[in-house]
Symmetry: C2
């Protein structure tokens, strides 16, 4: 019979995966430390709504201490992990060292610019709360600048918004940018003569290529109806802040490039020295531990695990959450000398929204689109939002937005 | 009979005074340009609530374009005025030059550190939205840092919060800081052994010295009950980031000094080259125009006008709003060659809140305090908040806060 587990489990990252792992350890006979560089959990699926002035930043950020207040065996530390010292079984952070008996890395992903320096320098990523606020400020500043611009072509370049990447994040962002900018032209910036262009660039032959081709076609049609120019087979090669350079095509004069074309696992995992799969994700055993270190588990976007047939598990919240629970159980098992279990993914289906009343959904063999898919998307996301207060306020804001076509948060907030 | 006014009236500042002036010109036969460095109107009376994590920044900021959308003769420009060229009748801004036929300067006030360089460098002002967010982040970071601190005295210094200035703004802030920090100790930071100290420093012999002495005493008592140490006759001489230096007293070990001890008119008015009264406010004629320039009006915090008996009008929203309306009418009169009118202040009374259910009020000869004053304060401020959406969301947040003693916005937002 295995012993009672004792010891110290450290979880890095308070995203979907890390929070689930923390909760799975509630009431267990271990000490738990959760670390994040921010003091809040970020509800990433709605980040694009902050970027497009639909909702306010605090509506998708919730203090970790408030979420886990009742968990007696847990300590939260706001710190940035600099590297993992597996030999010494400790983390090196900007707030000092933190030793562990077992470690769960749920550090997520960051933008991947594939070595395109000019893009990394000038494009706008959409991975953090400050990214989203930066995009919102930038979009609105482009309109303010366009008012001062007398040259027609220069004005058009200010009002051309390019989104790179036709995955769910790029599609959602392009749809929301189109809605925001059309509203702005109608209401706040009626003086502007130039029209707005929103361009979505996708490298492959269809957008949302993880879904059924029929849904890709529906999504493309819905975007087009919203005024988004969808360009397939388009590869970004550079961006100097005023022109987006493409492979085998004319550059696009534009001052805005939102980058949703690639992510990689958060850089801190590079310090593990383990084997890395595509997108720098760390290869893990089926039980989510490192092949050469049974005390270290990696989950979610940061982990590479194949889902049968050689396809890696997608970088989505359901994978992270399910792995969070299992990693917690496996870490406990490891400390007590018990057997660990292998990860089995239960796919809840995919949803991608394209705007105020348009989405596409694929759940098992079921495919649907339009208002119904959007309603499902809305309910799923509202249910998931952490904390009743956020849920209520977000709901009121959305309802307001939906009924009155009003974007309330179009603030340009100065840098602090 | 005077002619129809024609021409271009420029208003600088979208605060309480500037907005009123803009609205008073709706439908009049003039072209109006409103300029502000931000694209939003800031509801300053609730700024301290953002600083103490009670409400979110967007709840007190409302886009100017949304407020004035229906005003056909008005253009808004987001620009920072660098100086006024009265000779050339134009403004020099960071977005180019803007000529005017008549000018209304409603530029407000900024923190005044009275030449105390170390205070200017290290203390936290509370005049802008970014100031408020900076204070909120700082307060929460002090708690995070205290968790990592093993030395008892050093920990106490991290948890000592000093507010300088016993006027309405300092009193409100000290009360709210005491409530926030007490709540944080009870809930999110129960590990902390050290207690919190909140100290309010006032240079004169009583706080809220613009009110009746009885109300000052009531307010002092209410603050003391909330755990605020009120120190009268205390003058700040310096602050090095870890010690607040006082005249004729021991320094206070503290990492936080919130500065509510002095304001001056916004610096841009210095470029007018006019006579300036106390707090660098610009001396104006009874009709609010400059003594040597009938086309330039100055209102609100930026203007110096005595209210009979040699006392200057206070730097409060009602003065700015009433002057905004009159300045607009007088600017119109000037353009048409008609007579201008003199400003007469109708004092609506004073309110200062001390916390969740405590305030003091003086309306004419009526004085009251406690929950009733707080309820009046709440209603007055909710009624004034621009825009229904803000009003509703702020109300929900407040109700939530009040019922559940929860501060929902305790986010530490990273710098962008």
């Amino acid at each position: 019979m295995p012993e009672q587990p004792t010891g110290h489990i450290v979880i890095v990252g308070a995203g979907f995966g890390g929070l689930r792992a923390a909760r799975a350890l509630a009431g267990k006979p271990v000490r738990v430390t959760l670390i994040d560089r921010n003091n809040f959990h970020l509800f990433q699926p709605l980040l694009y709504q902050v970027a497009t002035a639909g909702i306010a930043p605090d509506e998708i950020a919730y203090p970790v201490r408030a979420i886990l207040r009742r968990q007696k065996n847990l300590t939260f530390r706001m710190a940035e992990v600099q590297r993992v010292d597996r030999h010494g079984r400790r983390l090196i952070t900007d707030q000092g060292e933190i030793p562990y008996d077992a470690l769960i890395l749920a550090v997520g992903s960051q933008s991947n610019f594939f070595g395109l320096d000019s893009v990394a320098r000038n494009a706008l990523g959409l991975k953090s709360l400050q990214d989203a606020e930066t995009i919102r400020n930038h979009l609105l500043c482009m309109f303010e600048a366009a008012l001062q611009e007398t040259d027609e072509a220069a004005c058009q370049a200010l009002l051309t918004f390019v989104v790179a990447g036709g995955g769910p994040s790029g599609v959602e962002t392009a749809g929301a940018v189109a809605e925001l900018t059309r509203m702005l032209l109608k209401s706040d910036y009626r003086e502007l003569k130039a029209g707005v262009r929103v361009i979505l660039l996708e490298g492959t032959r269809r957008i949302l290529n993880h879904l059924d081709p029929e849904l890709s076609a529906r999504a493309e049609q819905a975007l087009t109806e919203k005024g988004v120019e969808v360009r397939l087979g388009a590869f970004v090669e550079g961006f100097d802040g005023s022109r987006v350079f493409l492979k085998d095509a004319q550059p696009i004069p534009a001052h805005t490039l939102i980058w949703a074309a690639g992510v990689r696992s958060a850089e801190v995992v590079d310090s593990l020295g383990g084997l890395q799969g595509s997108q720098n994700r760390v290869r893990v055993n089926p039980d989510l531990s490192l092949p050469d270190d049974p005390r270290v588990f990696v989950i979610g976007d940061a982990a590479y695990l194949e889902n049968g047939g050689g396809t890696p598990l997608p970088m989505v919240a359901p994978v992270a959450m399910q792995q969070g629970t299992l990693a917690a159980e496996n870490a406990l098992a490891r400390l007590s000398g018990a057997e660990t279990a292998a990860f089995v993914y239960r796919d809840p289906g995919s949803l991608a929204t394209i705007g105020r009343n348009q989405a596409v959904a694929q759940i098992g063999r079921l495919k649907f689109h339009g208002f119904l898919a959007w309603a499902v998307w809305l309910v799923v996301h509202l249910m998931q939002l952490v904390g009743f207060r956020n849920r209520l306020v977000v709901l009121i804001n959305w309802a307001w937005d939906y009924l009155f076509y009003e974007r309330a948060v179009r603030l340009i907030t100065p840098e602090r």
